[in-house]
Amino acid sequence: MPVFVGIWCVAGLLAIAALGIAAGRSSNGRTLVYGGCLLLSLAGLGGALWHLVSGQPAVVQVLPVGLAGLGAHLRFDGLSAYFSIVINLGGGAASLYALGYGRHEEAPLRVLPFFPAYLAGMNLAVLADDAFTFLVAWESMSLASWALVMANHRAPDTPRAGYIYLVMASFGTLVLLLAFGILAGTEGNYSFAAMRASQPDAMSGALVLLLILIGAGSKAGLVPLHVWLPLAHPAAPSHVSALMSGVMTKVAVYGFVRVVFDLVGEPVWWTSLVVMGLAGITAVVGILYALMQSDLKRVLAYSTVENLGIVFVGLGLALAFRANGMGLPAALALTAALVHVLNHSIFKSLLFFGAGAVLVATGERNVERLGGLIHQMPRTASVMLIGCAAISALPPLNGFVSEWMTFQAILLGSQLPQWGLRFMIPAVGALLALSAALAAACFVRAYGVTFLGRPRTAAAENAHETDNWSQGAMLTLAALCVVAGVLPGPVVDLLAPVVQSLVGASLPAQTFLPWASLVPVAESRSSYNGLVILLFLAISGTLAALFIHRLATRATRRSDIWDCGYPDPSVATQYTGSSFAMPIRRVFGATAFIVRESVDMPRPGDTRPARFRIKVIDPAWRLIYGPTARAALKVALALNRFQFLTIRRYLTLVFGTLVILLLVVAAWR
């Protein structure tokens, strides 16, 4: 049954996309499109939940479309269902949010047809059961999101963002194609069922894993393939940014898990070193860059890079444990990664919605021009606070649960037999701890500079609360952040059959443990209890408030406020985002990025203001992409000459190629 729900969802979303073209101009086209997307997402969410909760077996369906002789194989199993939940939860929330937010769209026809098509692509990607269908869904997802990124094509940075996104997406798909080519083997059987049946040898299995890591990693934003992500995600309309960051990166994770854990079979242990190393670096570099940004949406995009790093650390750990036949630790690491997938999709969507609300209210994305919004937008500010606390992994919210579980898996790493892994895993753990601390700093900065203090511009001063639809979407996600943090047991149990089918073991049932605790390994080892923490916070908070009210003096005193040593009352004397980030920029400036600070001091008597400029350059551009682009241009210019040859020279080229190939064949034997 659920596979049909999935198929009908995809078909319905495509129909809505067509409707979006037809009705995009009319005033209620927006309601029709987003309302339809919301209903279909809810249906998809319900179908997937039902599939997981009732423990249905995998359902297979072959549609007579697609490649001749192959058709479109679709399969709905636990993993598909779980990711379908993530996609449709994010898609439903984004649709709900867009019912209000879409009102501010300048050119709705640039968004309305592509939004449902984008959702359809992602839904189809997790249903696909052959490489062809998967790649078609993957590419249509990329193309639809590219069109959505280009929706606001007049903004100065957007065309470049779109171009880089397109290049990176094509590169990623090319690498995926190669990986599937190896998996399909010499018979060229592209259905996943055949790939699952034929176990590749260790070497080609490792090669496929590395190729998938590059292909899916370029979509998920693993360093150094992340460069497009902070450009493209913020350029799209906010509800699409939420989908790209919160959901599409999860489809990339799905691709990785599907191929590596399901299709390839037994991994080689050293491949997990590569995955974990890359993931650890991704986590730290992503959050360090997030700290340096002043564009609110770009902060969020870089933080997505960090969170995907955390997810891939979990996946790498699961690979390492699985390669050594350690079922329970592998299940713990994989569960941690998959729970973080859900958690990140919830709070990242919430934060992007909040950023969109701020953007609509003030017209600003630059945190240096905001401030004090907690007074004008109290509801947005409170849900954003929950989102920021969740992404900073503070208990009792959901971000803590998955990161805690990842750390539990890291602590089990000492049981591994290989010394390489025993050294690597604590190092990765240290990177993860560093990134968690930096994430807290990053969101204190983002939240504090945006919502606290005094408004820095007139736009921030005259902001107004966002509409009810948007508030409803944000409130729902904030509630989910709390629920999933306080009661993580059901989520873990929902994942048990999925993890069981992928690594052959699963965590013990958690839902009915006393006091809603989470005990992944053993009671004696460690356990987490969100409910107790919530109760403690509530009681201690209430008591503290009571004591203060009771015991503090009620006398009113008037005096100067503490001015941080600045007697000037101007709003410009407040802590800014870049001043907050300065210590970290100084500490990591020499190693993690290329920072250019320049002070432009006017000469005595000159009345112009002094200026301080900071330019933070991503070394990936300097070290990898710059040289690559220059080399490509050079080769293209050299090849350009071949366009203007005479007919005889062309024939000579053909002839020469033939003779050289024949010579190679002759020499080969």
Partner: protein, 223 residues
């Protein structure tokens, strides 16, 4: 298979290859056409001999087509074209005969090196046939790129096609329908080429394809 029939097959296939070399060396247009007709006759004899020793009567049809089309119709048509263009006495400037012949020798060596060791379970006759055929194909290509005259380029192409027929008949014959369609496509190529040669001539007053190059649109935009 008796050594006699082997030797005769060898002789005929070898003579096609030798005629390819003659084509490569010959620089007078009408002489090239005559050599081409001779090559077609050798080809049809070779195919007919294959028909006899393989006991495959349908190859006789192939031989007939080769004889009529390539031995008579096409050379006659090309002779007509050449005479109407008034270039039958033209001496073509060929890339120096010495280097061309040496390259041709190298190509023959390459094709023998390639084909003879392949497929030890196939009879030596088939393998030699294939080696000859590959050599004829490569020599035809070489002829196409060393000539400047459109007519001799056509001849190069046709001789390349002779090599294809030789290869196909050596490998236990080719289906008749394929042979007929190839023959017709070659005929159509001839017609198209013929029309083009006249158009080129009308337009540019020469059939030297080098003259075409200065009329190409992109050249103004050359970087």
């Amino acid at each position: 298979m008796s050594s006699m029939s082997f030797d005769i097959a060898h002789l005929l296939a070898g003579s096609i290859l030798v005629l390819s070399f003659v084509l490569l060396y010959q620089d007078r247009v009408s002489a090239v056409l005559n050599v081409f007709a001779l090559q077609a006759v050798a080809l049809s004899l070779s195919v007919a001999w294959q028909a006899a020793i393989q006991n495959a009567p349908h190859l006789l049809v192939t031989a007939g087509i080769a004889l009529v089309m390539k031995g008579i119709v096409i050379p006659a048509a090309l002779h007509r074209i050449v005479r109407r263009l008034g270039i039958h006495r033209e001496v073509e400037e060929v890339l120096g005969a010495g280097p061309t012949m040496l390259t041709g020798l190298g190509l023959v060596a390459l094709s023998i090196l390639l084909v003879l060791p392949a497929g030890q379970n196939v009879s030596i006759l088939v393998r030699e046939d294939l080696a000859f055929a590959l050599a004829v194909i490569l020599l035809g290509l070489l002829m196409m790129i060393t000539r400047r005259n459109a007519v001799t380029q056509i001849v190069g192409f046709m001789s390349l096609e002779n090599g294809l027929v030789l290869a196909a008949t050596g490998a236990k014959g080719m289906p008749l329908v394929v042979e007929i369609s190839v023959a017709f496509s070659v005929l159509i190529v001839l017609i198209v080429f013929g029309v083009f040669v006249f158009r080129i001539r009308e337009r540019f007053d020469t059939v030297d394809v080098g003259a075409l190059d200065q009329f190409r649109g992109e050249q103004g935009e050359r970087l």
